[in-house]
Amino acid sequence: MAPILEMRGITKRFPGVVANDDITLSIQEGEIHALVGENGSGKSTLMNILYGLYHADAGEIVFRGRPTTISDARDAIELGLGMVFQHFMLVDTLTVAENVILGAEPAKLRFVDYRTAVERVEALARDYGLAVDARAKVSDISVGQQQRVEILKALYRNAKVLILDEPTAVLTPQETEELFDVLKNLRGQGTTIVFITHKIKEVLAISDRVSVLRRGRLEGTRDTAETSHRELAEMVVGREVLLRVEKTPATPGETVASVAGLTVRDRRGGVLVNDVSLEVRRGEVLGIAGVEGNGQQPLVEAITGLLRPESGEITLHGQPIHGLGPMAIKKRRVSYIPEDRHKRGLILDYSVADNLILGLHSEAPFVERYLFRNAKEIAEHAEKLVREYDIRPPNPRQIVRTFSGGNQQKVVVAREFSRNPEFLVCSQPTRGLDIGAIEFIHEEIIRQRDQGTAVLLVSAELDEILSLSDTIGVMYGGRIVAVMPAQESDERRLGYLMLGGDPDTAEGAHLDTPAS
């Protein structure tokens, strides 16, 4: 089969970085081509060049054998390219159909013919198996459905090549499955798909071929059927990687944190956390598995003082801490990696140095004479942590917004871990990160554990829970439905419980395995 699209010798420089370095890539018609690489490896840049949003410094684009210039998105759309960005570009207050037709409205006497629009969008959705209600308001539908709207937008404009930039980063595991079905369906109908991700599992699950980028260069292209998880991981990271965290068995000590009968309600009185009790011991990782939205976040926020529980007790070394504010709880040597680093963990417009003191900013040595910032101490603190945690680029004065996701998360981790916490709460600590950063953060969590920290780890990634935890709890519908030693759990059993399976039946299913 002939390539529908070739990028030849593409180079793109940004101040201080070569984002794409002489990349040559060819996309076959009708394939799902995965583009994989760590954050900052140049995937988005390459696709933005293809879509006419950036202009290459060198190189050419060949479409169906003919050299083409794509100077803006309009050119790209005319060629039959469609792009789904990681951050959707939808108008929340409009309906699905209105969003799809926006800018290309069917018109009758210059009025938008809304009925035709809905019909066309519904037909399109039906043809491609993209279940979504054309009349629903975008603000009312889920993220997964919003993504479908973006795909529909591209298809409505007759996209023959569909580019998706990290489409799964915002999806739950179920939604990811559904997206894969949609993509396979599209491929079946002749659409060519470029699928950007940094998850190798997804590459193996969906793609026909895969190209790996590392530091702006093309490491190589492989037929998915002929490569392996290990080979791709090495190409992505550029060295051998540990696919499992190496750790010794835990030696738990006394209970550090305990939660008893905790109930949290939302403003309308709906129960978010329902009578939860748990204990975290010194030198132990308690993992809480669960599909997101089953009360993990309110649980964690209640523990860290960001949410006020309705009832129940939270104690630290036997002292009650519920009802204290986040500052008071921090001062008791509780560290917290929040699940949303942009919303909670970082002030994106602050420098690395200023982010590294968030929460410590009112304490000595960062403040002197009660009021004045000690610039020298702040800078030294930052330089030390940037070095220790290998934050790149190593410039403490640079604002955090300009860093890659992995390095942003390293800033949070550096700040929270370097305080020598007694109790460490980690919520989705590696969300959206690439393999290298995940490996690093996992090692740091285990190091904390080995130093005697009590760790509460909340994650929707089963791999993460299974590889780090010593004890595993499963949260479903606001409750902890089961707690078990890590050795007695496996992916199947946790998956079953996470989806609301009956814990007793799950126990039953395990009767044939030797009891511990």
């Binding site: 101040p15 201080g16 988005s44 933005n48 949003l53 960005f85 990681q86 951050h87 570009m89 930039d165 860290t304 960001l306 504010g325 986040p326 500052m327 008071a328 921090k330 917290y336 929040p338 919303k343 909670r344 963990g345 970082l346 002030i347 994106l348 417009d349 602050y350 420098s351 140095a353 200023d354 968030l358 929460g359 900013h361 009112s362 403040v367 009660y370 009021l371 004045f372 910032r373 610039a375 680029p393 410039n395 004065r397 640079q398 604002i399 300009t402 996701g405």
Partner: protein, 347 residues
């Protein structure tokens, strides 16, 4: 070209300068329409605002109150708050300063003047505290409440200046404040007064608070990202109230300066929209104290030079209003494009 966390980026400097140039260019079209030569007209404008020490003094005098209101708006903005109430705050500040200045006598200047100034600031602070606390505790938008407080300030001072504190003359104004409470004239016959010294001090103080203190760190954190601030143990509500109070105190100094340094008394509705022009000053000055100073001087110069241009050429002084509006438009349009760009930039 690594983006640094500087208080001002090169872009923050380029955009306002560019906007001013564009506005002047656009203004020259209007000058041509009224049949004058733009170069001549702008020459007059420049000469009359900066051409001599005396003209510079007059420009600085016009700039002084705008420094206060500009700083006030900028400071609140750093905490994510839009203080449209500088006008009301400066009126209550002016009134309280006038009352202290008129009713107390026999005090030494060293006590009387600071007392009047501080009392005025307190009044402005209290005036801004109300919308601040309503925002922090009840989530009522500060724009609504600062506007409401403006009206209360207008009518309250209307009442006070025509009622209890009405002076001996028929006009709606108080008596002259005691000599011991006046801000000395620095460069007669211009009305440049000691207020400019307070203004320079205010610039320094606001700068230090914002970037050199724990309070500034917290206030800016709340302005950038309140949820992350909360996570960092920073009280969002306390900092919002604090930012509003300091903003109000700063705005009130504009009124204090007008009463103690310019008019010598409180005159009903004396302010030529100083509080609202402060919004433009903050916008053009990119909410930075130094930017505010420069923007205030520019606006001061336009007002001084504009009056002369009106006298000496066929160009009406309304041209100044047009130029001011254009400047704001260009600066604001940039914010718009930039926020659009930020949203579109794929990650």
């Amino acid at each position: 070209m690594i983006p640094q966390q500087a208080s001002l980026t090169s872009r923050d400097v380029l955009v306002p300068v560019f906007s001013v140039v564009l506005a002047l260019l656009a203004g020259s079209v209007f000058i041509l329409i009224v049949g004058e030569n733009p170069i001549t007209a702008y020459g007059v404008l420049f000469r009359e605002s900066f051409g001599s020490v005396r003209n510079i003094a007059a420009t600085l005098q016009r700039a002084t109150p705008l420094v206060f209101t500009g700083l006030a708006v900028a400071f609140a903005f750093r905490c994510g708050l839009f203080n449209i109430g500088a006008e009301g705050q400066l009126y209550v500040g002016a009134m309280v300063a006038a009352i202290i200045g008129v009713s107390l006598t026999g005090l030494p200047r060293l006590i009387h003047l600071p007392l009047a100034v501080v009392a005025g600031m307190l009044a402005g602070g209290v005036w801004a505290f109300v919308p601040g606390i309503l925002k922090a505790k009840l989530g009522v938008h500060e724009v609504i409440n600062t506007i409401m407080m403006n009206f209360i300030a207008y009518f309250l001072t209307d009442y006070l200046v025509t009622g209890p504190f009405h002076g001996g003359r028929w006009a709606p104004e108080t008596d002259r404040v005691a000599d011991t409470a006046t801000l000395a004239r620095l460069f007669p016959p211009t009305r440049l007064n000691g207020g400019i010294i307070i203004a320079v001090a205010a610039i320094a103080v606001i700068y230090v608070i914002l970037w050199k203190t724990r309070i500034g760190y917290e206030i800016r954190a709340v302005g950038f990202n309140p949820t992350a601030a909360e996570y960092g143990g920073i009280s969002v509500s306390r900092n919002m109230v604090l930012a509003m109070v300091l903003s109000g105190a700063c705005a009130s100094l504009a009124g204090v300066e007008q009463v103690l340094g310019v008019h010598g008394r409180f005159i009903q509705r004396f302010s030529p929209d100083l509080g609202f022009v402060g919004i433009a000053v903050a916008l053009l000055g990119k909410n930075h104290p130094v930017g505010v100073l420069l923007a205030a001087i520019l606006f001061g110069a336009l007002r001084t030079g504009g009056a002369a241009m009106d006298r000496l050429t066929d160009v009406p002084r309304e041209l100044i209003v047009i130029i001011q509006a254009m400047i704001i438009m260009f600066v604001a349009a940039d914010e718009l494009t930039r926020s659009l760009l930020r949203r579109r930039r794929p990650v």
